[in-house]
Symmetry: C2
Subunit: 396 residues, 2 copies
């Protein structure tokens, strides 16, 4: 018997899923243990030249009402209509594999509940870190660990821009324009450069690791648009690279503290070497100490590869995989306030200021890193007191 | 109902499994979906002060004849008696999770067959890369990819020594003595420094990725004992770090070519930043482009964490997971000869030699990297012709 699945959306990722499936059909079927085929591709646009033009439909009802379709790859992006479509699929017992991080970050708890109730699966490996296997290793291979902290470079666009600033001394605006020219950044780059994309991904990771849904609105998020070339250069001299880091830490009181911010990453840290559009996720646990997962965080085939891997899993698991799930949660009780974020801090102050030993004086001021750890509030107060021109936390 | 398992061997890894299990028992049981306990610990030594002393046995028959034991963690090391014990467990339908790379590299095909025939599982995540989840991501999350090449830093001891040579200009013998002092190297360090340990691990990876058993004797293996400080320093100036790299590549004719050798890794490659006792595995596929998995490749709790993760998997999967398997194979037909290994090469020649532009002259000679790719045989011939003092392939 051949398993039939549908692909929702024929944009970059959706068309990649179709391409990769037919390219590696034999080995995919071997892995899945069954013959497989795509029965429908949903898109409102026409693709008269596609070799699969007979599979296209503009009507979602064709898919939802077809009992032969047991699995759906959702590659549309955005909360709606993806949420309505995915929920309907799950309620009809059709497993869903999605690359849509916005959907998972905003509605994951609801969709996981629907999957459980209808004994099918909602898989989302492709929603974080593109091609990098991170969701499944996190929930399965690390099952024996008490995970205390995760830190990641989760947005390829901002990492490309910061790499250009670092390697080529290219100002932010110019690096952004280049990223747009190369297709790494959208025309409206807000979601990337202001950290919203990374925020959605750390929400998904936090929810999975700590078992309760963390919503994007609960996460302090700061982008890279204010990062200055002089700080990138000064941080380098002090032994650090500036990266947009998404972190989540379990606090001593059991609450968790997720955040997205530019941070100084020590050259000794393997994450400092993650450049260009690559992503990486560093996981800290009591058994493993630390492990990192690295790869292309976006792009047609890398993301399609993760979606397709989930489709294969869905075909193989005909009942709900409970452990890859989390519950709805009141974030006020569970998510700590950013005021309790604690780290060492990088400061840049005007020339002539009184600064500690080991400071680096350059043409845009004097840069130094505090020896002591300060909370977010303490750092802001100290910054005002010393008339700091820049303050950036250090990832420890 | 509570699931009972046994731990074979109470050395570093075995005692780590016991420690980690009782430390995280609650969350492990939640992940496994059932209550669990250790019923036996097999070791010939006495542990009168252990809090689990009632569980110790010196008689393997206690375990094999106890129907209540459904799963076994094998942490003894070496081929025998581990092979006899593990095979007996599988033949009695008891799933096995092992950290024993020698066992998997030499006898994996036989044990996987036994597991299939008795509808249980033989899992070995801990045998490669210690804590790093690599076996499961490789076979599962990358299921949709055509994997063409894998390159890894798979031995922590040699990576520690090479890091000391690079960072501290410490000669090989001194770095080895330090590794022994710190407990990173055995008294007899042959298996590590001559590459045998890395060889076993690339055998396991090759077998899993390409579906046929690759035996250690089929793999060209060269260790790091001949690596000179002057080459480490010269490679750095030329833009490379010297690492002990285990690779496997699919050749144009479909054969595969595994090898273990010191290689030059470009500073642009994320693997060049993998230092100290850390391991990393870089995977190349048509969908993902490249992905890297990084973490502690050895040590008590990291390895125990991987074993425990497999025990949880074994508890959850009561039938054989077929896809994580491979077949016996005639390596003469499947494994290519090292003579067909092709790369650019680093040469060091005596002062006064005629060398290409971009060469680096230093007190121990002149170092350069060929622009053209040469086979293993061509490189050796050229080396003899120019009286080379060192030749090392470049990882491309």
């Amino acid at each position: 018997m051949s398993v039939k699945f549908a692909v929702l959306g024929h944009g970059v990722v959706g068309s990649g899923v179709v391409e990769l499936f037919y390219k590696n059909k034999n080995s995919i079927e071997k892995r899945a243990g069954t013959e497989m085929d795509i029965k429908y591709i949903l898109d409102l646009r026409d693709f008269p030249d596609s070799p699969y033009k007979d599979k296209f439909t503009k009507d979602f009802n064709d898919i939802i009402n077809d009992d032969e379709v047991s699995c759906v790859a959702e590659c549309m992006g955005g909360v709606e209509p993806a949420f309505t479509f995915v929920k309907a699929c799950l309620e009809h017992g059709k497993s869903v594999a999605t690359s849509n991080k916005e959907l998972v970050a905003e509605k994951g708890d609801i969709l996981l509940k629907a999957a459980k109730e209808h004994n099918c699966n909602f898989f989302f490996e492709a929603s974080v870190g593109g091609a990098i296997p991170i969701i499944r290793p996190l929930h399965r291979c690390l099952a024996a660990n008490d995970i205390t902290k995760v830190a990641g470079i989760l947005n390829g666009t901002t990492n490309f821009i910061l790499t250009k600033m670092y390697n080529d001394n290219m100002p932010f605006e110019e690096a952004l324009a280049l990223a747009q020219k190369l297709g790494y950044a959208e025309k409206d780059p807000t979601a990337d450069i202001e950290g919203h994309d990374a925020c959605r991904k750390i929400c998904i990771i936090s929810s999975l690791v700590f078992g309760k849904h963390v919503y994007p609105k609960s996460v302090y998020t700061k982008g890279i648009s204010k990062v200055q070339l002089s700080d990138v250069a000064a941080a380098d001299v002090l032994g650090y690279a500036i990266k947009l880091v998404a972190t989540v830490t379990r606090q001593p009181d059991g609450k968790i503290l997720p955040a997205v911010m530019p941070m100084l990453v020590s050259h000794e840290n393997i994450m400092a070497g993650v450049n260009d559009v690559f992503n990486a996720v560093l996981v800290y646990g009591d058994g493993i100490d630390q492990a990192m997962f690295y790869g292309r965080g976006a792009g047609k085939l890398p993301t399609a590869s993760a979606v397709m891997g989930d489709v294969i899993e869905a075909v193989k698991h005909k009942v709900t995989v409970f452990s890859q799930s989390w519950d709805s949660a009141d974030n006020d009780l569970f998510v700590d306030d950013i005021d309790n974020f604690t780290s060492r801090w990088y400061f840049r102050v005007p020339a002539g200021s009184d600064t500690p030993e080991g400071s680096y004086e350059h043409e845009d001021g004097i840069s130094f890193i505090t020896e002591d750890k300060l909370t977010f509030t303490q750092a802001a107060e100290y910054s005002a007191k010393i008339n700091a021109l820049a303050l950036i936390p250090v990832l420890d």
